[in-house]
Amino acid sequence: MTTKIIITPENPKGLIVALTAEEEAQRVADAEASVIAKEARDAEDAQKATDKASAKAKLIAGEALTEAEADTIVI
């Protein structure tokens, strides 16, 4: 059984209760959403790293940068 603890002025040491069906459902939804969000962040980070490396190579070679590549080096 999954439990949560609720701390209130009436129960400052915490009241441990089982999750309701709705809370269990929300917990599953949160976990699923976090996976999607993490994948999106990872993809964005990977693209930034790729753009940055490409920007560096193009700068050395004297080639034009794309906007995304320029964004990685402009502060």
Partner: protein, 218 residues
Amino acid sequence: MSGTVGDNTARASGVIAAAGGGGMVPLVTTVLSSQASASFDGYFTSDYDVYVYQILNIVPADNDKDLYFRCRVANADVSSADYYSSLANLRVASGGSISENNVGGYRIAYIPFSNYGQPNSGFATDRLKGFYTLTCYNPLGAGSAPNPTKAYKSHRWQYIHPGLPPYNGHEPTYYYEGSGGGTLGYTPGQSALTGHTFYFNSGNIDTGEITLYGLKKA
């Protein structure tokens, strides 16, 4: 010259504030053990405008988790689209370099810890433990001009997580610090927040200690 500084209660004028105003007041501390979440509720009053949760040594039951918080209204968690958050300037220093990123637009707020620095670098069971704070301003806040029907509650995450032990082959040289701020709780109807819930994106909180403080009005 020597002397004693006393409070200035009953004085007509003076430079020292009367006793009893301001200051950080500990409201409650709880030690966590194998719970899905920890909710604090009913501690927000008109005595305080600012509340600070200090989260110490919190550890998930499983590796690579993100720490979340969710607002509570009317003694229950809320997850509606009214509760947007934005986080900015999350920063990780590792191996002598710093990576920084911004995230936002989520209906819940969290430290997206596992995305910054190294792969699989989220909260982990085998880490040295860190220290995290969540500051909430104006949880009871009602709307005011120029937008009297909507009230914003501001939050700010801060964390420091030094000296990780080896994990997935990484050297113990990573140093994580960061902060994220945002307005969470765009609340039509001026609903007051009654508390916050802390949890990991999945799995239980294995251990941890959370203390809630209120910054007493002067």
